[in-house]
């Protein structure tokens, strides 16, 4: 039971990281698509929207890692061994994105260097979600060889495959989609709201195609993903609901109901993640379920207690932060 409770905390942290931190990466991805004459205004809006919250949003990742290595140390160790390379690349993105964004905001002198910060910011904003998705895909695929296999089999093939990268692509698209929807509500001029509303719909369409591509590449990589989804009623209903939500979501985007659109977008991404995790549950990696990987009960009890206290402190503070900076407009 304790393994499931701590597993739920881990799941919630990952979900909130995707919904909040993911959108910050998505904003960086959106900067790659520069509107012809709105480039500076778009960049200013994104900096303004991310500034107060991105560091708090990033903390969900830190929390997720801590829960993983405290609660499921064997899973953490196995992932760190086999996914060393994509995780290292993801971290590179984390460092460069955070630093470039901060330097861009706080450099006392505004000159040509702003262009370099923005360039690094955009590239790093793609790298991190791509690698995050690659790792998620590789976990799902579960191509972890027996100990003693060669370098390629142990450290490269588990993640360097079409399926893992198709999940990476889907992650990037979903994060960019979330960012676009959130930014509709942040926009203070009609033209920016229109721009992001258009981007949100475009990203939504791309997301549907990327999702289909994930299923196709699973098939090409010899895994019947559709069958695994079809045989799990909860996952199947999650996917069905996520598809149905397209209708109210588009209506809200069309009518500029920013808050409702945010809600539906976040719900849609949550359903996709939930359906995904449900198919995978309770397996981290082959031969390693959450029950195998779980720490002894004493650890899990202390961890759960600590997390409940921690959340009782964090949530009011986070609520205050979001009310101050995200409350007025929208």
């Amino acid at each position: 039971m304790w393994a499931e409770i701590v597993g739920a905390f881990l799941g919630v942290s990952v979900l909130l990281y995707c919904l909040l931190g993911g959108a910050d990466f998505g904003a960086g991805i959106l900067e790659l698509f520069r509107g012809r004459n709105l480039r500076d205004k778009q960049q200013e809006l994104i900096s303004h929207a991310m500034g107060p919250v991105w560091e708090a949003n990033h903390m969900w990742l830190v929390l997720a890692v801590v829960i993983l290595f405290n609660g499921f140390p064997k899973a953490y160790a196995a992932m760190a061994v086999h996914f060393h390379i994509p995780l290292t690349l993801m971290l590179l993105g984390v460092i460069l994105r955070g630093c470039a964004f901060t330097f861009r905001s706080y450099d006392a002198i505004r000159d040509r260097s702003q262009r370099y910060y923005t360039g690094v910011f955009m590239i790093a904003s793609v790298l991190t979600p791509l690698m995050l998705g690659v790792v998620a895909g590789a976990m799902f695929l579960g191509r972890v060889p027996a100990p003693g296999s060669g370098f390629m089999a142990s450290y490269v093939s588990p993640w360097l495959n079409l399926f893992s990268f198709s999940v990476g692509l889907l992650t990037c698209v979903l994060f960019a989609f979330l960012a676009a929807v959130y930014l509709v509500g942040e926009a203070h001029t009609e033209e920016l709201a229109k721009l992001f509303s258009k981007r949100a719909r475009a990203m939504n369409i791309v997301a549907v195609f990327s999702g289909a591509f994930v299923f196709l590449s699973a098939h090409l990589d010899g895994m019947s993903l559709s069958q695994r989804f079809a045989s799990d009623p909860i996952s199947l209903s999650c996917m069905a609901l996520a598809t149905l939500i397209l209708i109210p979501l588009w209506r809200c985007l069309h009518r500029r109901h920013a808050r409702a659109a945010r809600f539906f977008a976040a719900l849609q991404v949550s359903l996709i993640l939930l359906g995904w995790v449900k198919v995978q549950f309770p397996v981290f990696l082959p031969r390693l379920t959450i029950y195998d990987a779980a720490a002894p009960e004493a650890t899990l009890r202390f961890l759960s207690g600590g997390l409940i206290v921690g959340i009782a402190i964090i949530f009011p503070a986070l609520f205050f932060l979001l009310r101050v900076f995200k409350g007025q407009r929208g």
Partner: protein
């Protein structure tokens, strides 16, 4: 370079980079909060300018510290999976507490940096204080985990598996508190002196600047109080080490042979082959007193430790003497600064004293790096003292020189950019 050496170098470089930003992230918010408090009380414009200037520094240092800290939480597993597989369950608790404190810090930072006109002035001030308090708490928590590596507790090691795990006993191991306090005090001393040194440069260039003068007064007092306290705390910690990790203490002091009473060897060059320290200054009985509070006591030397379990004596001894030397110097300058501050305020900005402060600016950080070298190198060859060796914890993945090179390059580059940004910040203010 072997994979083990590469992994250790990468961990060392990552920690060495992170600790500078983490230390500034702990202490700088307090400096900022003092200046902010003076602004709210006196409404003197100079304090508002100072708060804003310092808060920009905090923003840059916090972000760099936060991302490099995230990297570390992954590197523990990427480089030392066998260690984390066992240690994760035992010592994860302080990390989860640290995560909570760190989270609160990030939220408070967002409110402080962007809340100037959006929240009530005293709530705003409070958010600045919360950054500092949660920063100090997360430093204490995370050092608990390091203390556990030095004096493992809260489990039984049976056939290569940890059983009877007690996370509470593990977190509050015997090294935790004194090591944590040593680090937090060091953060205040190093940051205070660094800030004082920078504003001393400003005052040397522009002696009439009220801005730099007020900044220097706040920074030097914080740095000086910490620097004066640090030798007392360091002595308590060394007494812990003497009991909990005799080989580390022996390496720190270059003590090859067990002595009773034991002499203290200052400086010199220890040679593991000859088992002597050449050119060192020996002070009879002092080590007995420092280690055990008794001038007649026995101090265990490396002769009682199997040769394969020796830490690298040369590095540990030199790093330790460097740390103690710099710490003593800062304590002396700090005591002088406090005397000037309370008795002869005008001497505080005397050019000769300002030049001393400029000289002292980087010393606290050098001492911090040296101190971490002592504690980490002094524990070798163990990753968990007496339980697991570092060479058994390293990842089986070959080619670790590549990530090591990657992270070294990135951190070197970032260090350069941050220094350049600070210069630009400084020129902008001047």
């Amino acid at each position: 370079m072997t994979d083990l050496t590469a992994a250790r170098s990468q961990m060392g470089i990552s920690l060495g980079f992170h600790i500078i930003f983490a230390a500034i992230g702990v202490a700088m918010p307090f400096l900022m909060a003092i200046s902010h408090w003076r602004w709210l009380k006196t409404k003197e414009q100079v304090y508002l300018d100072l708060t804003e200037t310092w808060s920009k520094g905090v923003a840059i240092f916090f972000a760099t510290g936060a991302v490099s800290g995230t990297v570390l939480s992954f590197e523990l597993g990427l480089l030392w999976p066998k260690f984390m597989e066992h240690a994760g369950a035992i010592i994860g608790m302080p990390f989860s507490w640290e995560g909570t404190a760190f989270f609160l810090e990030a939220i408070a930072l967002g409110i402080f940096l962007y809340g100037w006109k959006r929240v009530k002035p005293w709530v705003h001030w409070g958010s600045g204080l919360v950054i500092g308090i949660s920063g100090a708490l997360s430093a204490l928590f995370v050092v608990c985990a390091n203390g556990w590596m030095n004096s493992p507790a809260g489990f039984d090691w049976v056939n290569g598996q940890a059983v009877n795990i007690d996370p509470w006993a593990a977190m509050f191991n015997r090294s935790a508190l004194n090591e944590g306090l040593h680090m937090v005090i060091a953060a205040f001393a190093a940051t205070g002196f660094a800030a004082a040194g920078l504003h001393a440069i400003g005052l040397l260039r522009n002696p009439k600047s009220v801005f730099h003068r007020k900044a220097l007064e706040i920074a030097v007092v914080i740095g000086a109080v910490a620097a004066v306290l640090q030798p007392l705390q360091g002595d308590r910690l060394a007494k812990d080490v003497a009991v909990l990790q005799p080989p580390k203490l022996a390496a720190m002091e270059g003590l090859f042979k067990t002595e009773q009473p034991a002499a203290l060897t200052l400086g010199g060059i220890p040679s593991e082959e000859d088992q002597t320290v050449r050119y060192g200054l020996r002070i009879p009985r002092l080590l007995s007193f420092l280690a055990h509070d008794d001038i007649h006591s026995e101090v265990v030397g490396l002769d009682q430790v199997p040769r394969e379990n020796w830490p690298p004596v040369l590095v540990v001894h030199e790093a330790f003497d460097l740390m103690v030397g710099l710490g003593s110097l800062l304590a002396a300058v700090g005591a002088t600064a406090l005397f000037f501050f309370f008795r002869k305020r005008e001497y505080l900005v005397h050019p000769r004293f300002l030049k001393t402060l400029v000289f002292c600016a980087p010393l606290g950080f050098i001492a911090i790096e040296a101190g971490w070298l002592v504690t980490e190198m002094g524990r070798q060859p163990w990753i968990i003292y007496g339980v697991m060796k570092t060479q058994d914890a390293v990842t089986p993945m070959p080619g670790l020189i590549y990530p090591m090179t990657l992270f070294s390059t990135v951190y070197l580059f970032l260090a350069f950019v941050v220094a350049w940004l600070m210069r630009r910040q400084f020129r902008h203010v001047g």
